[in-house]
């Protein structure tokens, strides 16, 4: 078998058309267009990699992984495509929940990016490694990677990279209950995101701060902040994140003993997440509503919502959440 020619374009207009669609963010169209020419683009590294990216970005991680594993060994000279294909393989494994493989591929990405002086990819790989460590509960390792990613973004002067990295690091510090550090980092994220400007990232960081306020026990601040963020997400046309903010406001109202307000907010959050098929957010909203029902003595409602949330957590393989919720259900008083 002859060695595939990495640089030769199979059909002159196809790569350009696909690239234009990708630049416009039309990833489903990229995937549909290139999917029709799978075999002809296979030896053409940049286009084959673009197809893989379209699969990852449209949630078809399993197909992306299979495709990437078939094209990566043939990419030898086109280092740019090789680097992109490598990080995409890591991303596909991450989406599929195979964290050990994701970690291995992100390490390979890091090595390639360093060899080639591709600083944005160095930063991205370290950020991804931080995310893997965080999901695996290795928080110190996650912070170590995020700190290196932040330094790389700082070297490049990437305000967006810094904002995203600080937000990720804040989540890890929040999980470690280091709330002052977490809040400080979310504030930095807000500053950079506002300068970009990226209202969505500002809102995400503010939602993070609302969560921190709630953990500090400042439910009044958490509620006001979360309601404001919900409006920002609504204005930005992001109903799923709006629902997440409503959920947090609802939890804050439960803490404050304003149960009617809490019920209204949580009903809305559950409906909204159900409507948009956001399973993790739906599970979290159902769990919050179960806790509200338990607080007001509606134990049957609490059990029903908790059971629905548990099914979703199990479906999503959110093992920690499922285990904690199981214990919570077992702890409900018997009527």
């Amino acid at each position: 078998m002859s060695k595939p020619r990495e640089g030769g374009a199979p059909a002159p207009s196809l790569p350009s058309r696909a690239r234009a669609l990708a630049d416009a963010g039309a990833w489903a169209d990229v995937s549909a267009l290139l999917g029709r020419h799978r075999e002809s683009i296979r030896p053409h590294a940049p286009t084959a990699t673009l197809y893989a990216e379209s699969l990852v970005r449209t949630g078809r991680a399993s197909e992306a992984r299979t495709w990437l594993e078939s094209i990566v060994p043939a990419i030898t000279r086109d280092r740019s495509s090789l680097r992109r294909a490598t990080v995409l393989t890591g991303a596909a494994y991450f989406e599929l929940g195979d964290l050990a493989s994701a970690r291995r591929w992100f390490h390979d990405t890091l090595e390639l990016a360093r060899e080639d002086g591709d600083e944005p990819l160095v930063a991205r790989a370290m950020n991804n490694l931080g995310a893997v460590e965080n999901v695996q509960g290795r928080r110190a390792e996650a912070i170590a990677n995020y700190q290196l990613a932040a330094a790389a973004h700082q070297r490049m002067g990437s305000a967006r990279g810094l904002a995203e990295c600080y937000h990720n690091m804040a989540i890890t510090f929040r999980d470690l209950s280091q709330l002052d550090n977490a809040d400080e980092l979310e504030q930095r994220c807000v500053e950079f995101a506002r300068d970009l400007p990226d209202p969505r990232l500002v809102a995400l960081a503010r939602l993070g701060r609302a969560e921190i306020a709630l953990r500090r026990g400042d439910a009044a601040l958490a509620e006001a902040s979360a309601r404001r963020v919900a409006r920002d997400f609504a204005n930005g046309g992001d109903p799923v994140r709006e629902a997440d903010a409503l959920r947090l406001a609802g939890v804050a109202c439960t803490t404050l003993g304003r149960f009617d307000d809490a019920r209204q907010l949580l009903d809305e959050a559950v409906d909204r997440t159900r409507q948009h098929g956001a399973l993790l957010n739906q599970a979290e909203s159902l769990r919050a509503r179960a806790e509200l029902s338990a607080a007001v003595g509606r134990l049957d409602d609490a059990r029903t919502d908790a059971a629905s949330a548990l099914r979703l957590f199990e479906e999503l393989r959110a093992i920690d959440d499922a285990a904690k919720l199981t214990r919570w259900i077992e702890g409900l008083p018997v009527e």
Partner: protein, 444 residues
């Protein structure tokens, strides 16, 4: 920049430059390309025998990225032009996509260089030395001292002060007002990581240095090269790392974990701590030689309670800033509110003042902030100020104690558990279950 040696491929250069957001400029063989903000392409379809000489001549006058392009897919041509100084050789039409990829990568690098410069300019505006608010004598003394160190990029600085007094802000002002402003400012929280991770984080590691070291990795010192490294919470540094930091400061070189080579680093070190390092030296937990090496230019930031006249101007400044951030009119502080602000102890210093003012702004619905708006009944926040909530639910007191211990130990769970007199697993259970660890709360 394009140096055409023949008229082959002329039709592709304009569209390629356009696609990558570059301006196409043709140069003659005898021209000297100016600056480094360019990608050079020598195109020689049909006259590949002239490529190596043209490449060598151009390379002598510039170190910008350079690609040679011909029509012959011949290894000998490729080897000759690369030996002559080209970064790569592309044979068209087969390598057209590879060439586009090379140009795209190069364009991205040029864009990054511009981005880095703009970022540094923006940060310099944000962290202007004159932008530090306050006129109290204690602060002015610290700032006057700091301003003397700014022009000397190799001088190490030690900033001391309680938590929240603005140590990092001052470090950034020193960096961005000084000759290293266009270099990176890398900040490290020394308390955030356990010793074994921090060593590799600071100094990097070589491939195979430990089980997880799949590839060589530069550390933060290398990433801060030509800039500043800010070592926050230096008082938490483990003794074995103190020795390595001392060597880095003395010799201006670092050695990666598992490495044998000394790598030179050109970095200004600014260290900060809220710990009394002299006391730590006396107690034997901090090396005396490192202390003296760090203490070249000590800067002590005063706590907010010693900056009475600064409190209201800072509060008003923050109110105006948050009003803009949250798109609200600037609220008025009542006289009672001002008295309350001035009369408080502020153990969390400016960070605490900022949080209190921001909270009041978010909750404010009347356009006026009164004394009551500056209060918050927050168990965990009170805990971080050094006291536990009481009276309160037992679970709240326990949560606050855990949070307080974690903050005090920089997140070190083992140490926090030791200070609380419980096991690490029990501390984890208390964290997971918000102050409740099940019946009996056994430590075993």
């Amino acid at each position: 920049m394009l140096l055409p040696l023949s008229d082959s491929f002329l039709e592709i250069w304009h569209s390629m430059a356009n696609e990558c957001g570059l301006v196409l400029e043709s140069v003659a063989a005898e021209d000297t390309p100016h600056g480094r903000r360019a990608l050079l392409v020598i195109a020689a379809g049909g006259v590949e025998d002239r490529l190596a000489a043209a490449t060598r001549a151009l390379r002598e006058r510039t170190d910008a990225p350079l690609a040679a392009v011909g029509a012959l897919p011949d290894h000998r041509v490729a080897a000759a032009v690369v030996r002559a100084g080209a970064n790569d050789y592309f044979a068209l039409p087969d390598d057209l996509e590879l060439l586009k990829s090379w140009v795209r990568d190069g364009a991205e690098r040029l864009r990054l260089r511009d981005q880095g410069r703009r970022f540094a300019e923006g940060e310099a505006r944000k962290y202007r030395f004159e932008g530090i608010l306050g006129s109290s004598p204690a602060l002015e003394a610290a700032l006057a001292r700091a301003s003397r160190v700014i022009p000397y990029p190799a001088v190490t600085v030690l900033i001391t002060g309680e938590t929240g007094t603005g140590k990092e802000l001052l470090a950034r002002a020193i960096h961005y007002d000084g000759p290293r402003a266009t270099g990176p400012f890398v900040d490290v929280n020394c308390a955030a990581l356990p010793e074994h991770l921090l060593e590799s984080e600071l100094f990097g590691h070589e491939k195979g240095a430990f089980t997880d070291a799949r590839a060589a990795k530069p550390g933060l010192f290398e990433m801060a090269n030509e800039g500043t490294i800010f070592l926050d919470e230096i008082g938490h540094l483990d003794p074995s790392l103190q020795g390595k930091l001392l060597r880095a400061l003395q010799e201006r070189t670092i050695r990666r974990v598992g490495g044998t080579r000394s790598l030179p680093v050109d970095v200004r070190v600014i260290a900060a701590t809220h710990v009394d390092l002299e006391a730590a030296v006396r107690a034997g937990t901090f090396r005396e030689d490192l202390f003296y090496r760090l203490n070249v230019m000590p800067l002590a930031l005063p706590p907010l309670r010693e900056r009475g006249p600064d409190i209201i101007p800072i509060a008003r400044h923050l109110l105006a800033r948050f009003a803009a951030d949250y798109d609200k009119p600037v609220p008025v502080l009542t006289a009672r509110a001002e008295r309350q602000l001035v009369g408080r102890e502020w153990p969390g210093n400016i960070r605490e003042l900022r949080n209190v003012v921001e909270r009041a702004m978010i909750l404010c619905e009347t356009g006026t902030i009164d004394a009551a708006d500056l209060e918050a009944d927050v168990p965990a926040r009170r805990a971080t100020r050094g006291s536990l909530p009481f009276p309160a639910r037992l679970a709240d007191i326990v949560t606050a104690a855990v949070v307080l211990s974690l903050e005090a130990t920089g997140g070190n769970k083992s140490e926090a558990a030791r200070r609380l007199g419980i096991t690490r697993p029990r501390l984890q259970r208390l964290l997971d279950h918000q102050g409740e660890d099940g019946e009996g709360g056994s430590d075993e």
